[in-house]
């Protein structure tokens, strides 16, 4: 009854989704009409893609500066290798941490291996938030630095991934 989309149809659907979801009261019906398929088929395919992790959600990219999130800070820590996974997972769950990654140290220029991104409205608030966070997780003794961004030169070019819409974060 609800047969899956043909390969051609699902490819066409992927393309359509790259430019976003139609602003319609029945967006999946609107998409279905464009690829000559049924609404349920389209919905099923999209649910499946989400389940497989092709995308995390159907959501928004906000212009965070336009919304007043002017304080963009990168918290970097030098965490002993044996602890970095555990600390990364814990900090990753903390409120206010938007992104959390492990990256390589490059000694002697760069000693930090854990990176967290925090976006806030005011610098002082972000600083206080980070202090509280480190204290709460008993991490204040670890070498760390908070690098605020002061200027944005290019927000989201990246021709290679541009169709996907989502801002990439390396």
């Amino acid at each position: 009854m609800n047969k899956p989309l043909s390969e051609q149809q699902s490819l066409a659907l992927r393309r359509l989704l790259e430019s976003g979801l139609p602003l319609a009261s029945r967006p999946f019906q609107a998409l279905a009409e464009q690829i000559d398929a049924g609404e349920r088929q389209v919905l099923e395919q999209i649910r499946q893609w989400q389940g497989q992790g092709l995308f995390r959600r159907v959501g928004l990219v906000v212009n965070h500066r336009a919304l007043g999130f002017a304080a963009n800070a990168m918290l970097v820590l030098d965490v002993p290798d044996a602890l970095v996974d555990e600390v990364g997972r814990r900090l990753g769950k903390a409120p206010g941490i938007n992104l959390c990654y492990q990256r390589p140290r490059r000694l002697p220029q760069w000693q930090y291996n854990l990176f967290c991104m925090i976006h806030g409205r005011q610098r002082e608030r972000v600083e206080a938030q980070v202090q509280a966070l480190l204290a709460e997780h008993l991490l204040d003794d670890l070498p760390h630095q908070l690098l605020f961004s002061t200027q944005l030169f290019k927000q989201c070019g990246g021709r290679f991934t541009a169709p996907a819409g989502a801002c990439i974060d390396g």
Partner: protein
């Protein structure tokens, strides 16, 4: 932007329900109507408060290679180097940060080899050696801006 706009933005950042009439579902939650919510979303996109509404693709699943890189640029040359990078299509974003390593940018290329080539090109172009800091482990990705 009023209270409904804010509630809509916050709610949509968590994801649209994947049902046939998602706006009706949200209208119930937000005590509004489908038509009103769609109008609001349309406006917010038009005004540039929002830059995309749709699936948030996991770029790594789409193939390609990414890295975060940093440069220590002499102050006098900062603008010029920023312009050199801005002209490169694979530079996805570029921030000035308060640090000796004062320029931080993301490279998005089709392959690991292309990333290496791009870093070499930047080195030749600027005479500065970029620090290459690719992701080794992801612990959390969840951009959320409560408004």
């Amino acid at each position: 932007m009023d209270d409904l706009d804010r509630r809509l933005i916050n709610r949509l950042q968590l994801g649209l329900p994947l049902v046939r009439q998602p706006w009706q579902a949200l209208a119930l939650e937000l005590d509004s109507s489908s038509a009103e919510l769609l109008d609001r979303l349309h406006e917010l996109l038009n005004d540039g408060v929002l830059t995309r509404f749709g699936p948030m693709f996991d770029v790594e699943r789409l193939g390609g290679a990414f890295t975060l890189a940093a440069l220590a640029v002499p102050e006098a040359r900062f603008e010029a180097v920023a312009e050199q990078l801005a002209a490169m299509p694979e530079v996805a974003h570029n921030y000035r940060r308060e640090h000796h390593l004062n320029m931080w940018f993301v490279l998005a290329c089709a392959s690991e080899q292309a990333i290496r080539d791009s870093l070499l090109r930047i080195e030749r172009l600027t005479g500065l050696v970029p620090l290459n800091l690719p992701k080794e482990e992801t612990y959390h990705v969840g951009l959320y801006f409560p408004v």
